[in-house]
């Protein structure tokens, strides 16, 4: 069973490219396994190589990242990815869009929570056992 609930996996599909671009923007050049580790540390555990590598290929095809094969002192060659200026543009635009979208949804969900509360109840609620995870913003 994946540690990421199905609903979060669905959310992730829409923003995984931005998360990868943001990680590359912050960490600089990285190869697939390092990116997986960085995303794991950032709160996206259990992301599979079968998802990440094709995504990196698509980002490269769209010229949002560039790649370079480098051979290390030991082990096989690795493909290092670097974000391009076009990638930074897409990241900036996508991050702004996500913040706006997430704020709207948060407001809708807050309204819903208010209505669900019995009259006179404290409006600041927390959902026990919620899978909401971290604040996306």
């Amino acid at each position: 069973m994946s540690a990421v609930p199905e609903r979060q996996a669905q959310w992730l599909r829409g923003v995984l490219d931005l998360a990868v671009l943001a990680t590359l923007d912050r960490d600089g050049t990285a190869y697939g396994y390092v990116l997986l580790q960085a995303l794991d540390r950032a709160g996206i555990p259990d992301l599979k190589g079968g998802t990440l590598y094709p995504l990196l290929g698509r980002l490269e095809a769209d010229a949002l990242v560039t790649s370079e094969w480098r051979t290390g002192q030991s082990g096989p060659a690795r493909k290092y990815f670097t974000i391009t200026p076009a990638g930074r543009g897409v990241l900036a635009e996508g991050a702004a869009g996500w913040r706006e979208f997430a704020a709207r949804i948060a407001a809708i969900l807050a309204d819903d929570a208010d209505q669900a509360d019995p009259p006179g109840a404290d409006t600041v609620t927390s959902a026990p056992g919620s899978h909401g995870g971290e604040d996306p913003t």
Partner: protein, 209 residues
């Protein structure tokens, strides 16, 4: 070769074949395979656990392969070019506008040729591309496909010679007949298309497993 290396070797071999069947350029196949090898070397994980089965992983790259419809339109255009081309090249294009009759022999030979070609493709060409075969096995199957293909090719004029010319069933111009020839060919080709042309490309982009 230990178990891990053997598993990776088998995985990579099948993945390569699956990507070839999806018409990915060789250099891109090399890169996909190298990424798998590097990742497994880094993590020691079983490739199928990380990437899914070779078939599933290859399907992630479906959007870069020719779409079935485009492939069939290309085959249709090629067929029209093969039928019409000789007339145009020899300066006899006007003959295609002339009305000609189609008798029972012509119809039988054409239908037989289409069915035989479709069966040959499905049962001789497609199995030769199987990922389960080794290099030697693929070579053997390719030989079988080549020989059976030549037999199908030789059977067409032979059937024409052996069958008696029957009564004319209908008349039409060469252009219309060429089009009528292509439609059933594409229809039968569609029915016997191999599995890799059956799964549509996933438009959703990255998928989490």
């Amino acid at each position: 070769m230990n178990d891990t290396e053997r598993t990776l070797h088998q995985y990579v071999e099948e993945l390569t074949m699956r990507l070839r069947m999806r018409n990915l350029p060789p250099e891109q196949i090399g890169q996909v395979v190298a990424e798998v090898e590097a990742h497994v070397a880094d993590t020691g994980e079983a490739p199928a656990d990380v990437f899914g089965t070779p078939q599933e992983y290859a399907a992630q790259f479906a959007d870069r392969a020719p779409r079935p419809l485009r492939a069939y339109l290309l085959v249709g255009a090629l067929m029209v070019a093969l039928i019409v081309g000789p007339y145009v090249l020899t300066g006899r294009a006007m003959e295609l506008s002339q009305t000609r009759g189609v008798d029972t022999r012509s119809l039988l030979v054409v239908v037989g040729a289409i069915v035989a070609t479709a069966l040959w493709y499905r049962f001789a060409v497609v199995p030769a591309q199987s990922a389960q075969l080794g290099r030697r096995g693929r070579l053997d199957r390719a030989m079988v496909a080549a020989v059976s293909g030549l037999l199908v090719l030789a059977a067409i004029p032979l059937a024409w010679r052996l069958l008696p010319a029957g009564p004319v069933l209908f008349t039409s111009t060469g252009w219309v007949l060429a089009a009528l020839l292509v439609v059933p060919f594409l229809l039968v080709g569609w029915l016997v298309r191999p599995p890799q042309l059956r799964a549509p490309a996933d438009p959703r982009g990255p998928r989490d497993r």
